[in-house]
Symmetry: C2
Subunit: 344 residues, 2 copies
């Protein structure tokens, strides 16, 4: 997702990093069991950015519980989702534990520890009811709060709402779950969608994907209710598309992260445009793109790099559809949020 | 090696980036031949940082020379040597071309294009003779100038010097070649070593590895003669070791780049120290280490990150031997430059 510390979706702004260690359940027993069952000698541990700091303490606890000959290896690679497994570490360890995300794809090798939040969502949901306009409402949340999703549904129904939920597509693990790049769980008829969770990263994506819906944010972590407002982002998108309309040389970015590759889209652009060059990389950063003398970039990887970090790049960076608009293959008013489907 | 744009070893400060395209021989015929021979459909191109900007033009030329159904993919990953192959791209292409370095290890899959310089080394070598103190001299250079190494030897011998050269170990391709991490080619009896090449990155490493030698730098790119002076670096090394002596929690970095892994050294530290944690990553950057709450780091990867970029990290970063000094296993005056041997 966003790699910008100051972006609105950054975990460090959501209060998650303020919580005490003991509030997370690292499911150590499940890990120890797998280590013993597989007689594992090397165990890889991968945490998302906001939780990497907890890694050494978790490794300590596991060392206490496992034999001395088990080596624990902490991934130092950036990690922004279950789309972003450290495949190097995964392939070289007997057990690989990915913390903080739900499975994008199950595998015997990987243990996913979702790290469910123990924050109480109901007080802030109570406050959010004022902003729900109809009596039908979509309900969505993130992996961290999935453990209370059914309770949340019941709670809304008790208050007279008809709750609409969906499982989305196979990129999503749970009914009602959203990812930064996928809001298929909000493809429901209701005009109101209630998002319960920390931060604005997810609900802003949801509102961009569903511009006609009223997206109410009940944030139990920062204890605040807001309405998702995408105007700043949308202005930036149109500005980037306009700037890129003059581009001659295009860099087409193919992201090598396991769950962020869309090669067919990249290859289609290359086929149609002799001034397009395929660039492959895992992290898509301003420094890396500055190495290439291009007029504009199309990012076929994570859409949130494009929308959230876009202004940090020295040249306009577009989503694949925005590229088609910039080169005249689609009209400007067709512009919609780039979402990511499927696994790998 | 160094990832710091302002470091003394940075290609961008050596004048290499000022040269006109036509001065490099990209050996396109050799690449086209391999593409045809192997009926390749996907061709990966990897350039070091200072030359990435030339990638699209090279891809253009190759597209002209190859069938339309061949896709050229430019690596956007940072690259600091032949130790730093883009293995993702290599494994997914039929032909993989690595520009700007000599082979660390030959492979059928990889075409190494060394990009020999066509700059004339002799005028600046003439100036450098004043600083050579004895009549025996070691001669070393980098991959870029290897094409004239024998001429340089002859030239020095014609002027009455006994020239001492060595091939070093199996990490090095050529007689007289140095890498940022390996100066085995300067293990010769002479007190004077003449380095012919651009920038100070290599001769500073050489002088750190061989502190008793007079290392004369004949830089034909920037047209200047200097004597390698390691005092600034050595001060920094001692300061880092002193600071790290109080450290309790140690992060032990294992670099996942194909030619930069020293797992035995990392595992030895982990065995002996219960307060050491293994961290794995490809790029070793200040941002990535800031994620971990450690008191100090030991870097078992590229030694030049430690020596050249060290001051940019928030906590002291030591080489494996400096770690042993900091924890009291070796005396302070044993401190020597960390070099890297073998391939992968």
């Amino acid at each position: 997702m966003s790699q910008d510390a100051s972006s609105e979706g950054d975990l460090r702004n959501t209060g998650m990093s303020l919580k005490h260690d003991r509030e997370w359940d690292y499911e150590l027993e499940r890990i120890v069991e797998a280590v013993e069952e597989r007689d594992a000698k090397r165990v890889g541990l991968q945490f998302p950015e906001g939780l990497k700091r907890r890694g050494p303490a978790v490794a300590d606890d596991l060392r206490q519980l496992c034999d001395d000959d088990v080596t624990f290896m902490l991934s130092g690679q950036p990690c922004y989702g279950a789309c972003d497994l450290d495949t190097y570490l995964m392939r070289r360890t007997d057990v690989f534990v990915h913390f903080g995300h739900s499975p994008m794809k199950e595998s015997d090798k990987i243990i996913y520890v979702p790290l469910f939040s123990n924050v109480d969502p109901f007080p802030i949901m109570e406050d959010a009811l004022d902003d729900i306009e109809g009596d039908e409402v979509g309900l969505v949340t993130t992996a961290q709060h999935m453990n209370r999703f059914e309770e949340m549904c019941d709670w809304l129904e008790e208050r007279g709402y008809t709750v609409q939920t969906r499982k989305g597509d196979d990129r999503l693990t749970y009914e009602g779950q959203v990812l930064g790049c996928n809001y298929a769980s909000a493809d429901i008829p209701a005009d109101d969608v209630l998002y319960v969770g920390g931060g604005k990263f997810h609900p802003l994506g949801l509102a961009m994907e569903h511009p006609d819906k009223n997206v109410v944010i009940a944030d139990p972590v920062n204890n605040v209710v807001t309405i998702a407002d995408t105007r700043k982002f949308m202005k930036q998108r149109y500005a980037s598309v306009h700037k890129a309309m003059d581009a001659e040389k295009w860099g087409v970015i193919f992201c090598t992260k396991i769950g962020q590759g869309r090669m067919e889209i990249a290859e289609k652009i290359l086929e149609d445009n002799d001034n397009a060059y395929l660039l492959t990389m895992d992290e898509v950063t301003p420094d890396r793109l500055r190495n290439f003398d291009m007029d504009a970039f199309v990012n076929t990887g994570c859409p949130r790099i494009t929308t959230d970090d876009g202004p940090r790049f020295h040249k306009p960076m577009l989503t694949p559809q925005e590229y088609r608009i910039a080169v005249g293959d689609e009209p400007l008013d067709a512009l919609e949020f780039d979402t990511f489907h499927g696994t790998w």
